[in-house]
């Protein structure tokens, strides 16, 4: 099985902006570098579709730089376990693959935070970022009525993209209130001048779309699919007819792999030093897993991690100052878009919280914590392994739903069996 196994000086898990930057930095320092991704694409969720179009903007520059730097690339390769120190087990179309590393960089991104409300499981209720990704891939929106309800700066970008795809964006409902948004806006200029331009561009594209701060979706209605959504703000409750409800309350770092590898996490993010090294020597973490900060922060942290993993931390130079600015921007965003209590608590007793196993809020409320609820209800034990309901129960009940057991993703039994050296020649 030696052909299924390979060793690299630097292995980067995840080929989004942070991963591409990390692989570029390590490979440009002359390290034998591999970057792998679970999807067939490079660029992560944020640059989805750009590779196929030959790349645009910064995606194009980074993809070209990666190729020039000579890093190896493995697509559709999903890490599922770490069977021994310095070894990752991954699933790929060619079968299971063992990958050896001397330095490991985890750039595994984030997922959207969804909060359950009555009707949130109806087809037609989609993640805000999730729908952006689908639209980039050709998902048809022409003529569809869309309500966007959630939180964060993504709401503008998403509305602009949906409109460009032909959607009729009926309303943007932002749960945070105007006072916080204004304070956030005022705090922007010294931090990130580029973001102001970006925001202005989106605003311009959005002329005519009502934006209501301090408003949120309380329920979705429909028989077999979404037909309408009921919203609420300080002035009252009203209903909008729509085909699609895009919802999401910001992002949660993906921490399953760092936790599996023993990396320390704190307040829902991986702990790293100023070289992006985790509590485990030789394992670096960059981008969203260290705290949500978007593309700019991911690129800076990815480069720092790549240089540090290559043994050339001094090459990071001025990037450290950029990193500090990016961290300040992240903190300002967290404050501006902090969740109001009402949106944490919208699920009725009959609302499914765990979508994989159809476990309702009423089922869960009988238990005092995540572990007991899991054992008795199977909450979090379906294929998503708690990635969706984990964030929801944290916000709903304050339960700590961290998971760190292998496999970190559903795998075929063959993948787990294959590396076993025992002879298995006899057939039955």
């Amino acid at each position: 099985m030696s052909d299924a196994r390979s060793r690299f000086e630097v292995v980067v898990v995840g080929a989004g902006p942070a991963g591409l930057a990390a692989a570029v930095a390590a490979a440009e320092c002359g390290r034998r570098t591999l970057v792998l991704d679970a999807t067939p694409w490079l660029g992560g969720q944020i640059w989805r579709g750009r590779e196929a179009k030959g790349g645009t903007g910064s995606a194009k520059r980074w993809l070209a730089r990666l190729q020039a730097a000579g890093a190896a690339v493995a697509r559709q390769t999903a890490v599922v376990a770490a069977p021994a120190p310095g070894i990752l087990l991954a699933e790929s179309p060619e079968g299971p693959r063992e990958i050896g590393w001397e330095r490991l960089i985890l750039t595994i991104g984030a997922r959207e935070l969804f909060l359950p409300f009555p009707g949130w499981t109806l087809p037609g209720v989609v993640g805000i970022g999730g729908l952006q990704v689908l639209v980039k891939g050709g998902w048809p929106l022409a003529g569809k009525r869309i309500v966007i309800a959630g939180s964060g700066p993504l709401l503008f970008a998403a509305a602009a993209e949906y409109r460009a795809a032909g959607a009729d964006v009926v309303l943007i409902a932002e749960q945070t209130d105007w006072a916080r948004l204004v304070r956030f806006g005022l705090s922007l200029p010294p931090l990130a001048p580029g973001k102001i331009l970006q925001a202005a561009k989106y605003q311009a594209a959005l002329i005519g779309v009502p934006y209501r701060a301090g408003s949120w979706a309380v329920s979705a209605q429909g028989a077999d699919r979404l037909e309408g959504v009921t919203l609420r703000n300080a002035r009252g409750t009203w209903t909008e007819r729509c085909d699609v409800l895009a919802t999401g309350f910001g992002f949660l770092p993906n921490l399953e792999l760092p936790r599996l590898l023993g990396c320390r996490t704190e307040n829902g993010a991986a702990v790293v030093d100023d070289r992006q090294e985790s509590s485990q020597a030789g394992i670096f973490i960059a981008g969203e897993p260290t705290g949500i900060g978007g593309e700019g922060r991911a690129l800076v942290e990815g480069l720092i991690a790549g240089f540090a993993a290559a043994g050339r931390p001094e090459r990071a130079g001025r990037l450290r100052r950029k990193r500090r600015r990016a961290l300040a921007f992240s903190r300002a965003m967290d404050r501006a878009f902090a969740l109001r209590d009402e949106v944490r608590d919208l699920a009725s007793p009959e609302t499914p919280v765990c979508r994989c196993e159809d476990v309702t809020r009423g089922d869960l409320e009988k238990y005092g914590g995540w572990r007991a609820a899991k054992l008795h209800t199977r909450c979090g034990m379906g294929p998503c392994q708690g990635r969706i309901c984990g964030g929801a129960v944290e916000k709903l009940f304050g339960w700590d739903a961290a998971s760190n057991r292998p496999p970190v993703f559903p795998v075929s039994i063959g993948t787990l069996r294959e590396p076993d050296p025992g002879p298995s020649v006899d057939s039955e």
């Binding site: 067939p40 997922r111 993640g127 952006q132 891939g137 077999d224 294929p383």
Partner: protein
Amino acid sequence: MTETVSLTINGRPIRVPSGTVVAVALALAGESRFRRSVAGHPRGPLCGMGVCFECSVTIDGRPHCRSCQTLCADGMEVRTDE
């Protein structure tokens, strides 16, 4: 000219640009119910990023495939609502 691939969705043929994921092909075919939950409720894509498994369908007889992460291929047979 864009290249295309042909597949069937619940027995009906459809042609989509190559590089299209199965979830998008299903939407283009007008399907909204991708799977049924354990309690029998209709479900469709939520996360779009391969995390939630709500877009799972049967592809070439293999159940529980995430349609948002699977590229369409010539001759592929997709079944929903299972």
